[in-house]
Symmetry: C6
Subunit: 271 residues, 6 copies
């Protein structure tokens, strides 16, 4: 389990606001949910900008962000906190969820469907009308302050049958479905994040469009905006565009030589 | 495992009585079971008000409520208590079940079928004529006071084959089956909990009725009252009703774009 | 694992003798086995009175009873005992089996087929001609005194294929098969345990008879005497008999609405 | 894991020699293997006298016997020993295998096929030309003295496919197959162990013969000598022979009412 | 988990630069990715030189290399570090990932697909725009210095279905596919690493070419450059070439006598 | 896990050289691999002399031998070492692999395919050009001295599908396939190890030849040289040859009475 505390926004918050390009009404829904004290579930494929969106929203409401990358080794103890023995002394260390509740942060649980059930159950009392966290090891209950909000993300296209959220969990969250942005917006994003010129960014987006249109390739997941940003970065540094597409788009998508050749043909057509 | 202690009702208990709208004779059965010292099992789908009912009943008999959200990581140790080392000293900390027995509370084990067998076995001696709890780690037996009552809940429609209560457990409980309330009552509940006006609440209930009537969609679970309360809250805050239904009813129910479009058509017809 | 120590019978033992209504020659077999120092296995469905029988037999021979409810989390350590650290000191705490052997109690392992193999193996040396218990963690061997007896129970109708006793375990025990008692005796038991009048008790037994005769319903287990006692208790308190049957007999037996309606029809015919 | 140390034979060893009735040349093979420092594997069904044989052989060579009942929870640590913290001090406690090697005892691992592989591997260096035991936690190697011998037992008829000894383990042992003894010998054994008169013992053996001849009943295992000794004991105490056969032979063999009736018919024919 | 720290390159770094023969543009891609702060994934069969490539690249940029051989027992704790109790004192010991981030090393996770998910998740925040490592047990966040780079390797041909990288992990890495080098280059490598003369090296490469062309043999994996280096080394020491091929090429590839004979025929044809 | 340290060879090393009868060029391959610092994999059926070969080779190069019998409970910690608390002090105890590397011993991992992956991964850095062992718990790297060599064994005929070495492991080892020796050599071995006369040894070998020729019996593994040595030992002690073959050859090979009778017929024909 990894938890990445972001600095609390203060004087310099504006300077650190992450780049985020709004696509549809997702920011509006976020703000209504935030005011309604309702938790939010973000659904969408890998690399489409869910985490960036959360960073931008946290900055927009001026609250710190606590991110937890969930996986099936994460335990409730990791999230809530533990007693540590240090130098002969016993000290309590908050886990990321407890810290988020105490400080009124936005708590973001990335890939929630990967977490074990005991982790998800910890969220139940935080995600309904109780908005409370009980930490049994210190026998304390924390009521979440009004500034607190919980957000979770989930990739419905990946390992569908194996990792599903229970209805009793899903029905606790207002839900937003994310997809890849429209071409012009995506080109703008690739340009801004990689530093490549807009013409090359448009070509990368065109390539992604062609790949996304190919259903018959049997890819586990299709080309994400993240891949395009990687390719754009290498091109800006001076790598030949076709080689950049090969190592940053084609090879990350497949191990099959035939499929890779088909994808590379598309890349060669584009550049 | 999370255990949320409620304050013991006293002078201010009336002020904190949670909103609960009785539907059928369920309160009557509760009171007979409580007087007969018999434990109670609540069966029903997610979000239909089982937890609210328990909160209301605890308030009605003026006893504190100890809630345990069960999951397959919960151990008997979590429920009974453990020895903790704090500052060089060893202190015993009651688990929620021990605390409930000691204080004569109502003990509510939510989603009991998710718990492991050792947790369920802890309940056996509490749920029959013995009404006793043996805590082996402190070598103590607690006889439950007359005020103590155990309630458990269970969702028979979810993961039916995987998680079943053993007959030897089930036959220890007086059992109540919960469903969704009649439309007029459900609209009243949505109105009271979300603050939306009664006309909108009725439309939300009508939408839920249409969704619940659709067997062919293959939803894991259908629209709960909880979903309607979420949508109503967003509408009251000012979000457009169709968008509110999209993010608070349609998206929480499905990840499939075709099913989501069908559900959204119903929402658009309603508003 | 839960172990419920009963008080050693002394002056007041007679006063605490539990109600038990003998059905066939089971008490006679118990006494011959007890005198022969042979362990006893009780087989039968849930709620038919096995535990009550054991309580009555312990009282009849004037020995304390130590009950262990087995489940697949119970370890040999739980049964034999463990070293505990309390206040800086290390103390040994007997588990229930060790305590039963030391004190010459009757040891009752309920639902033995649920226990793990290491638990069952602990019993082997106690259940053959050796009658000895070796506790490796304190490097001590306890020979069981003549007063000691081991009893185990097992429900052969439940999860037959999954949980079976090994022949090498089964063949160590004198075995008694329990069923539901004859109607007149069962009515007497329901009457005595619930306090309901004999007429209502007879109706409840008649209802159970009708349900037990229905093979086609696919119930995991049929109506036990325990269910009838629950229904009788609610009726004595004043609940309408048909509603009492609904919540204490019908709903504990099934989650299927069609089956529940069929069972309720039988209840309505009876009252 | 249970280990039952037997007293070292000394002045009183003769007085404690257990009853054992030799059947074929098994004692001769034992003595040749013992003199050749070869380990011995005993194969045969439950309750046929393997453990009794081992007790008798240990007495015949005047060595103590250390018995370990194997199960799939037994670890190499349980067998070799562990560091224990007692009263602030750390003390090493030999496990049963280490104790057997140190004291030149006979080590008997009952139901070896139930043990985990790490337990069996501990035996490898003891069972070949090395005859040595390495205990890593105390960094010590013990060479087995000439008096030491390892015996293991195994029931080839039980859970054949699931629990098999690896060829690399099996081929380390001289092997003896045990069966039930010839009728006259078996009657003699039942008579000696239960105290019942020879006529009744012969009838019990005749009953066992009839049951063992019935292949079509689908019993997990057939009637053992142990069962006959149990029935004989109850008969000697005064229980009616047919009832004794019912509770000590029929019910331990089956849970199926039809099969039980067929077996009881055989018992009723016999007495 | 094993982590092999390489000495930091200093005065003597040139002297220790490992032999590496570049094949295609892989060094160029490495340097662009290194300058772009993008992590790199190396794909390819066993023994084709992925690890050698990483050693050479680390030397070329003058940074130390920290290698972790992943397996399914490796935990996040092993990678990040742990509190150790040594001589009554509690000291923190960095794991290899923390050490690599702190010292600005190249971190190489070999056979990443063998690792558990919690290990892979530790990498997520290091492999995207955050380039940060959060170590919860010491409550510290380390930002990776610009010199830090993460490389991972993965063998797509082995256990394809069982061990796959998730798309959300794969799409974080610039990816390079490795294969076996062209014959003349491979002979040069075998010659340089084994010390065998070039004529024999060419014969070994010819043998590998013949084996790699045989699809019908059903080998789990084909002859790697590593195998040829082993055979070359034995030949240089004086072992007969056919016997060297037998023990260093044929027997490592198959256990099947028929397949081994077919492979040996090829070896005998070559030498 | 068991590790059997052999005494370092010194003045008396010659006196302790174990009996080993070379069969083909296996000693020659060993010596070339030893001089080339290449690790060696021995493949072959149980009881064919792999372990004896390793003992003889260790003696021939005058190095101590550290043997580890692998099984699926063996962990990397067992092999590398652990911190132990003894008498209030914390001391580091080398595991067998660390001890072998430190002392320049021959390290023999018997039945390597039984080990878990984390154990095998520990070997990777020892088995390639790095020849280094990293022990993370003491943060130390040990370079293997030139005298160090790693040998592993593996039985390809046993549980083929379940336990296979990964190609990336196999291709690190020079490999030798062992079989049963030619009859005259095998008789010489049986004679030397059991002390039986050569005529009887030849008969035992002839019996083994007949059994090995029988494919249709469905034996898990066929008669090994080890079995013949056992039978020879019993015969030398005076046991009748047919009975010796019964308990030392026939019964160890099968539990099936029909197969056992067929094998015994062969034994009776031979003697």
């Amino acid at each position: 389990m990894t938890a990445l505390p972001q600095p609390a926004p203060g004087a310099s918050a504006g300077a650190r606001t992450p780049y985020y390009r709004p696509i549809a009404g997702e920011a509006q829904v976020f703000h209504y949910a935030y005011e309604s004290r309702l938790p939010l579930l973000l659904k969408g494929p890998t690399g489409c900008g869910k985490s960036r969106f959360v960073e931008a929203m946290a900055a927009s409401v001026g609250r710190p962000l606590v991110t937890v990358a969930c996986n099936d080794e994460t335990t409730a103890t990791d999230l809530l906190g533990r007693w540590l023995v240090r130098g002969g002394d016993t000290v309590w260390q908050d886990g990321p969820v407890t810290r988020a509740v105490r400080t009124g942060a936005l708590l973001y649980l990335d890939e929630i469907a990967e977490a074990r059930e005991d982790v998800i159950v910890v969220l139940h009392s935080l995600s309904d009308h109780r908005r409370a966290l009980y930490v049994d090891r210190i026998d304390a209950t924390f009521e979440a302050p009004p500034e607190f909000m919980m957000l979770v993300s989930y990739n419905p296209g990946y390992r569908r049958a194996l990792k599903e959220l229970k209805p009793s969990t899903r029905q606790r969250f207002v839900s937003l479905a994310f997809g890849y942005p429209a071409p012009e917006i995506e080109a703008e994003i690739v340009c801004a994040e990689s530093g490549v010129d807009l013409a090359a960014a448009r070509r990368l987006v065109a390539l992604a469009g062609r790949i996304r249109a190919l259903d018959e390739l049997g890819l586990a997941e299709t080309a994400s905006t993240r891949l395009l940003v990687g390719a754009g970065t290498l091109i800006r540094r001076g790598l030949a565009p076709r080689l950049a597409c090969h190592v940053a788009v084609v090879q990350p998508l497949t191990d099959d030589p035939v499929t890779a050749a088909a994808l590379q043909d598309l890349a060669d057509l584009t550049f």
